[in-house]
């Protein structure tokens, strides 16, 4: 059976997190949505389908997975929406000629290869609206992700469920004798090559903790479960509160709570990060801090799809696009949307709640800065420090996003011109 994990047309609601990645690549719990869905169908051959702009990037990231290739389909095909983060989707294995919906959204469909090939040509909404007419329809209540804050809100629960599903506990790496485990030790897994140094407290009383391969937890760190520390990440004397997923090759210090750091990002020093999703190749300078609750405890609004959307939640942090860099002492307001590849210099107060992609925030104002080429050079320098190169395809995609976000950026820069010049 072929399992096609697809990105539907709502990916824009998840900006800035989906500028350079498909919806199903977003992390929630211990895994991305795609990893979780694929693991639930272990006998299926996995393929991905996403917007055309990602067609060159995805094969680079996943060389063993067919991407947007209708010719690779054969036999029965299961299409699963990459916004599904619910393990209950596993129940549809073996079904045929059925579509599963929730509040009008198609979350999965079991179709023939011929029908699935049409899907590749027409886009998910049109195809599924057409195909659904001829299929059995089942309304489900699976958990899905629509907005960036959904990822954060579901993270703690998914961490607990993913840990149980992984079926691993105990210490396969190193745990120094002068560190402690609070709670049940079978709610802890330290993977091979992971190293927990002295004076670390691993508190599993409220949820499980996984420390993945090659990760290092340095002294004077408190980690409260549920929590996932990714491969080759270093925790450098931090307070990691409940509900955190930290992806691979990160450097994290200070205080982090109920947040997701996708991977290859640094928050080395003191400063608070809460109820946030941080993309890749982000560097948060010392004392960068975000607010995740308003002083009046009212629901938080976040900029999405060109407007401020009421989240209905009182605890919402910030959503930081890939390659963004903050200076020392940068303060984010509650519910801030930070675009792709921004360069932010703290101004003493909180920054605006919407920071378009590729801007410099300096002198208390949104500016053009030194332009895209300068930002790309910075990106290359940052990636080189982790022995990675910016590929031509990645640069092409970044330039495409630059064009896509041109209008909103120009408007913000124009609005702040007088502020910059002190007029």
């Amino acid at each position: 059976m072929r399992l096609v994990i697809y990105e539907d047309e709502t990916y824009g609601r998840l900006y800035p997190l989906t500028y350079l990645r498909a919806t199903f690549e977003l992390r929630c719990g211990m895994h991305s949505a795609a990893e979780r869905i694929a693991a639930l169908f272990p006998d299926a051959e996995v393929a991905y389908h996403a917007r055309g702009a990602l067609a060159k990037i995805l094969p680079q990231r996943y060389p063993d997975v067919s991407v947007n290739d209708a010719a690779s389909l054969s036999g029965d095909v299961l299409l699963v929406n990459g916004r599904v983060i619910d393990r209950a989707v596993a129940a549809i294995a073996g079904e045929t000629d059925t579509v599963w919906t929730k509040d009008g959204d198609v979350l999965a469909a079991a179709v023939s290869a011929e029908k699935a090939a049409a899907f590749y040509g027409s886009g998910s909404a049109a195809f599924l609206a057409d195909a659904a007419a001829g299929l059995n329809q089942v309304e489900v209540d699976w958990r899905t992700v629509t907005w960036p804050w959904d990822l954060v809100n579901h993270n703690a629960d998914l961490l607990t469920k993913d840990f149980a599903a992984a079926g691993r506990d105990g210490v396969d790496g190193d745990l120094h004798a002068n560190s402690v485990i609070l709670g049940n030790p079978n709610q802890l897994y330290i993977a091979p090559g992971a190293d927990v140094l002295p004076l670390v407290c691993l508190d599993c009383r409220e949820g499980p903790i996984t420390i993945d391969e090659g990760a290092v937890v340095n002294p004077n760190t408190y980690i409260q479960g549920p929590c996932y520390i990714g491969r080759d990440t270093q925790i450098v004397g931090a307070k990691i509160r409940e509900g955190c997923s930290i992806g691979p090759v990160c450097r994290v210090g200070g205080e982090v709570e109920e947040s997701i750091i996708h991977g290859y990002s640094n928050k080395y020093h003191d400063g608070f990060l809460g109820h946030a999703y941080v993309g890749e190749w982000v560097n948060l300078g010392a004392l960068t801090t975000n607010s995740d609750i308003k002083n009046d405890y009212s629901p938080v609004k976040v900029h999405a799809e060109g407007d401020f959307v009421d989240t209905g939640c009182i605890k919402v942090g910030c959503f930081i696009g890939d390659h963004t860099k903050t200076s020392i002492g940068t303060y984010f307001n509650t519910g801030t949307h930070v675009g792709l590849m921004t360069l932010l210099v703290g101004s003493g107060g909180v920054l605006p709640k919407f920071l378009p992609s590729f801007i410099w925030f300096a002198g208390g104002a949104i500016t053009k800065g030194f332009g895209l080429n300068s930002l790309l050079e910075t990106a290359r320098a940052a990636m080189a420090r982790r022995k990675r190169e910016l590929t031509a395809e990645e640069e092409e995609l970044i330039r495409a996003v630059h064009a896509l976000t041109d209008e909103e950026r120009r408007a913000a820069v124009k609005k702040d011109r007088r502020k910059l010049l002190g007029r």
Binding site: V345, W360, G363, T367, K368, F370, L421
Partner: protein, 82 residues
């Protein structure tokens, strides 16, 4: 035209960097002589854009080292964006 542009560049430079316009020459370097840092460079580009009603290309504009070269660059941009 060039004299007018030169005088206006000196005026804007003095306003942004807080120096005396009468002391500026075509050879005066923004960073080397006037101590302009990266934020100052960004402000200068924005201020020149506002003064002359143009939009300078960031990468090229930020390579301009002195007042004389700024005048030449602004004149070229004005011609291109007429």
């Amino acid at each position: 035209m060039s004299e007018d542009v030169l005088e206006r560049v000196k005026k804007v430079t003095a306003q942004v960097l807080g120096c005396d316009a009468s002391t500026l020459t075509e050879e005066t370097r923004f960073a080397g002589d006037l101590g302009a840092e990266s934020l100052d460079s960004i402000k200068l580009v924005v201020a020149f854009d506002e003064e002359f009603g143009i939009e300078m290309e960031d990468d090229a504009a930020l390579q301009v080292q002195n007042i004389g070269k700024a005048v030449a660059f602004i004149q070229k941009t004005i011609e291109e964006q007429k």
